[in-house]
């Protein structure tokens, strides 16, 4: 029988949860997907919970997705973004968070530019922490929704081949995806320019390719990442145009492959760079399914972690 509760109190990264946790999140998310397709898309599960969304880094999709998930579970929500806060005045992370917690917040969803910021907080405070991205480290809910979306199309992921294309070096999505897919038994390859592939990535049990055609011929699914210009303090590629001509995916390339593959992208897409517009809008792409599943996955994570909270017993 599968597990009924998560093995951890926080979701700091896919590395720290088990295969059973992932299966439990998926089965719960299936039920939430039914809920968000009802005319009334709301259940009262978390009505006594207050959640703070702390975004120390910009985000549109993830923040809206978390906020919708929280509201559909009837939680109270407070939002915080670093650009308009006392962080600018020099307050430390722990002080900021402790101030928010003293206003009786029960869970924290946080995005932070420093890898490990969540693990640091988890050692100092007592509420559930959900990682919505920490620097170049992990983005666990993205990996969960990616794998959930793949599973919807392909069934069990054991033995399925997934290639992650693009800026692997700076991508938290890539790292979380690798952990998640390996735990689910999939085979993983990364593909991109040598400068954007970490030196010892093979230690994680993944294949490496520098040739996009070869990688696409091999895989069942291609998860295509954005080139993160904001994280490139030095030049890793000569130009976007050159990147696009070597690693960009267009419909002509897809149609020349021997089989149909699924194209995914965590967004935001740079149309014409990593994906051409016609690929993003083609039937190969499940990008909008990923976004829909994101809400269901985040509802599942919030619900399961909230059930790990000990409420005051009268």
């Amino acid at each position: 029988m599968s597990a009924l509760e998560m093995s951890t109190k926080h979701l700091l990264g896919i590395k720290y949860i088990t295969r059973e946790d992932i299966d439990l999140i998926f089965s719960t998310a299936e039920n939430f997907k039914e809920v968000i397709n009802r005319p009334i898309k709301k259940v009262p599960s978390l009505r006594d919970i207050t959640i703070a969304n702390l975004f120390f880094e910009n985000s549109t999709r993830t923040r809206i997705s978390f906020e919708l998930a929280e509201k559909r579970l009837s939680a109270d929500v407070v939002n915080f973004s670093a650009s308009s806060s006392s962080v600018k005045k020099g307050e430390t992370l722990l002080d900021t968070v402790n101030n928010i917690l003293s206003m009786k917040v029960d869970m924290i969803v946080m995005r932070h530019p420093a890898p490990g910021a969540h693990a640091f907080l988890a050692n100092h405070i007592d509420v559930n922490i959900i990682n919505a991205g920490d620097g170049t480290h992990e983005h666990p809910t993205q990996a969960l929704l990616d794998a959930f979306s793949m599973r919807e199309k392909l069934g069990d992921l054991k033995g399925k081949k997934v290639v992650i294309v693009g800026d692997i070096l700076h991508s938290r999505v890539a790292l979380s995806n690798i952990f998640c897919l390996k735990k689910l038994g999939a085979e993983v390859m990364v593909c991109g320019p040598p400068t954007l592939i970490p030196k010892h990535i093979k230690m994680l049990g993944v294949e490496v390719s520098y040739n996009i055609r070869e990688a696409l011929e091999w895989c069942d699914v291609a998860n295509v990442l954005r080139i993160q210009l904001e994280r490139q303090d030095i030049k890793y590629i000569p130009s976007l145009r050159e990147y696009s001509s070597y690693f960009g995916i267009d419909l002509e390339l897809l149609n020349s492959l021997k089989k149909d593959i699924i194209i995914m992208h965590p967004g935001p897409i740079n149309r014409g760079v990593e994906l051409s517009g016609d690929v993003a809008d083609s039937e190969h792409s499940i990008i909008l399914d990923q976004v829909e599943n994101g809400v269901a996955i985040r509802m599942a994570v919030l619900y399961l972690l909230a059930s790990k909270r000990n409420v005051i017993k009268a």
Binding site: L4, E5, S27, T28, E30, N31, E34, V35, R38, P39, I40, K42, V43, P44, S45, L73, Y303, A306, S307, R309, N310, V311, K313
Partner: protein, 186 residues
Amino acid sequence: MASGRVILSPSKFNFVLERLTHQLIENYGDFDNTCIVGIQEKGVRLSQNLIKLLESKSDLKNKIEFGKLDISFYRDDFRLRDQPIKVSPTDLEFSLEGKKVILIDDVLYSGRTIQAALAALQDFGRPLKVELLVMVDRRFNRQLPIHPDYTGIVVDALDEAYVRVVWGDDKNDHRIRIFSAENRKV
């Protein structure tokens, strides 16, 4: 498996199912504008058995609308329980707006499951009327003012006792058992 005491034998169990079926036909006739909603998981099993009987007794074949309702997300004791809740799928493909709903569960105990189910039903429309059918009514253990409209058997037992509807593989193998407090984990 620890035995527990049988309080409703297979032969009597089938009599009770027959009686409930006749009561429903008496009140709902051709089941026009009426649907059956079973509460996951054991209420669904009871519903399916009743529908099979209803269909065999009248010309209702494939005419009864049936949905499965999971109430995990509506429970008021979520996070108070020692055991985590197992979530099951909800499968209710039709609107309940203006419909007569027969809500079905196996054991009515504290009434909290039914309270959660009533809240959940509201999310699928505003029913004209909701009636409650249960196989077992533990009438002295209620914590909320909820009463069934159709009852299989009434069981008066201590709070600590555990009553279980045991569905066999064969229709002549269903029964109801009662377990004492020491055996209830089994």
